[in-house]
């Protein structure tokens, strides 16, 4: 239900200039690195290192940009801002939302990959 809204496949494919192989490659890379970036954010917040959390959020944001997923993008941007501002408390607050949105996106991507991409 939310799957089709968490990211826009049509737009994402357009952004990849209709290159299906490229999209698949990027999705695979994201499925591998996205969770790692998220884990880094949490580890950083546990250590009250807002800056490190912000850096990892920045990486996440860069990847998310490729998939046209506005909710995840906004959450990642907010996390990046809080991290840069050194606001551990705010970053910790945002963490749950970011993780949830990211999880949705990853699930959606997995589904798309399993179904195979129609032309």
């Amino acid at each position: 239900m939310r799957d089709t809204q968490i990211f826009n496949l049509t737009e994402a494919l357009a952004r990849a200039d209709q290159d299906v192989e490229l999209f698949q490659t990027m999705a695979e890379l994201f499925l591998e690195h996205g969770p790692k970036d998220m884990a880094e954010i949490k580890t950083a917040l546990d250590a009250s290192d807002a800056a490190a959390a912000g850096r990892s959020a920045h990486r996440l944001k860069g990847a998310v940009l490729q998939f046209c997923a506005p909710a995840v993008l906004v959450a990642a941007m907010r996390m990046e801002e809080a991290g840069k501002a050194g606001d551990v408390a705010a970053a910790a607050d945002l963490c749950g939302k970011l993780e949830a949105e990211l999880s949705c996106l990853l699930d959606a991507l997995r589904q798309v990959m399993e179904k195979g991409l129609a032309a």
Binding site: L22, M26, R59
Partner: protein
């Protein structure tokens, strides 16, 4: 964290379709792009876009690897992510601009959207252009193509500059070769006749100069000597001097002038060598020495360089004011006669020697030249001349005389 430690230099897979081994062969039309970004997903997207645009693509996953790849491969355009661990984008820019080998590389720095202050900082640290990670495909394409155009222009400019330098070096080699030829025409120093020693110095200001001197053998007791100066500098005067010196050969002079008399020779030369349409002309000192009687016969045309350093220590300049050759086609040049004594030294010299300027612009002048001649009076002729040249160099502050210096000296054995 381990991710920051490894540098992923990802250049072999989908990027090297042409099989080129190095970026230095730029004769093919395809340009090369280098993308440096530690975030693999966006890097993959950008790399694919660049390939689609027809460029050869190199990739690096961190700043250090990107810099190494840039130095090795010399890509036409480099796209750097801003935020990267250890060596970020702006830092890579700075390092590139400081490296004389690659400082003119075309660099696009990727900025975060809505961060205009980054542009000022990026420019200050060496970026040529900017691209937001959130930029549309159209904007990415436009900026990449603009960057590639700029890179192409810079490369063509470098080629042209290199070609010019190579051509200049070739011309310089030819001039040096011609200069060696001119030097080979000069008379070798040493004993001209029993009892007559000669020394000389030849220092053109550039490879070729317009000054020339020579010794003519009339009989076993009669020598001619001249020092001629073609107006102007460089190749043209040198050619003109060489041609004039052909006129001044013994056989030609006997044929055309009918005598070895300096005045008659200059009078005829004046008729044969008029002012050129550019106003070029010759000045000359011409002497004849009778070795039996020690009589010196001389004539000059617009040239003041005839200096007699008597054994007594007296120094005098023998030339009178006279028109340079070619100024007045009907001018008659007169021969003057004077007596030399054993131990006397006679110098034929170009004004480049006593007009040597100091670093503050003051000319060395004839007075100082005379001083250095007197200082070396007891030395052999060749050493005395070397001493004077050395003193002029000291005055100048280095050894490259700004105006042609040519000196020929003789000494009557005492």
């Amino acid at each position: 964290m381990e991710r920051h430690g490894t540098s992923s230099v990802d250049c072999n897979d989908f990027s090297r379709s042409t099989g080129q081994t190095s970026g230095s062969d730029k004769t093919e039309a395809q340009q090369t792009a280098l993308i440096v970004d530690d975030e693999p997903v966006s890097r993959a997207g950008m790399a694919a876009r660049l390939k689609r645009l027809g460029y050869r693509v190199l990739q690096a996953g961190d700043g250090k690897a990107g810099l190494e790849l840039l130095r090795r491969e010399r890509p036409d355009l480099t796209i750097l992510d801003w935020m990267m661990p250890e060596l970020d984008g702006p830092s890579v820019c700075e390092l590139v601009r400081r490296d004389p080998e690659v400082f003119s590389s075309q660099i696009i720095l990727m900025t975060g959207h809505d961060q205009p202050e980054q542009i000022a900082e990026g420019l200050a640290r060496g970026a040529d252009d900017f691209l937001s990670k959130a930029a549309s495909p159209q904007e990415i394409t436009a900026r990449v193509q603009a960057g590639m155009r700029a890179a192409g222009l810079i490369r063509r400019l470098k080629h042209a500059t290199d070609e010019i330098r190579l051509k200049q070096e070739a011309i310089e080699r030819e001039l040096q070769s011609a200069a060696r030829y001119v030097v080979s025409l000069l008379p070798p120093p040493g004993q001209l006749l029993p009892g007559l020693e000669m020394a000389s110095a030849y220092r053109p200001s550039s490879a070729l100069g317009g000054d020339l001197f020579n010794v003519l053998r009339w009989h076993e007791h009669s020598l001619g000597m001249y020092l001629l100066d073609a107006s102007g500098h460089g190749v043209s005067p040198a050619l003109r001097s060489a041609s004039f010196s052909t006129f001044l050969r013994e056989d030609n002079l006997l044929h055309r002038v009918g005598s070895s008399d300096p005045g008659a020779i200059l009078t005829e030369a004046n008729r044969q060598f008029p002012l050129t349409e550019n106003g070029s002309y010759f000045t000359i000192v011409f002497v004849r020495l009778d070795i039996r009687t020690h009589t010196l016969f001389y004539a000059t045309a617009g040239h003041n360089g005839l200096m007699l350093h008597r054994r007594s220590g007296e120094i005098c300049y023998l030339a009178q004011p006279s028109l340079p050759l070619g100024f007045d086609g009907g001018n008659v040049y007169h021969t003057v006669e004077t007596q030399l004594s054993p131990g006397d030294r006679l110098y034929l010299m170009s004004d480049g020697l006593y007009e040597v300027p100091s670093p503050t612009g003051e000319l060395w002048g004839q007075a100082r030249l005379e001083t250095s001649m007197r200082e070396a009076a007891a030395k052999p002729l060749a050493d005395a001349l070397a001493h004077a040249i050395g003193a002029a160099e000291q005055w100048l502050g280095h050894q490259k005389f700004p105006d042609d210096v040519a000196v020929m000296g003789i000494e009557l054995a005492g």
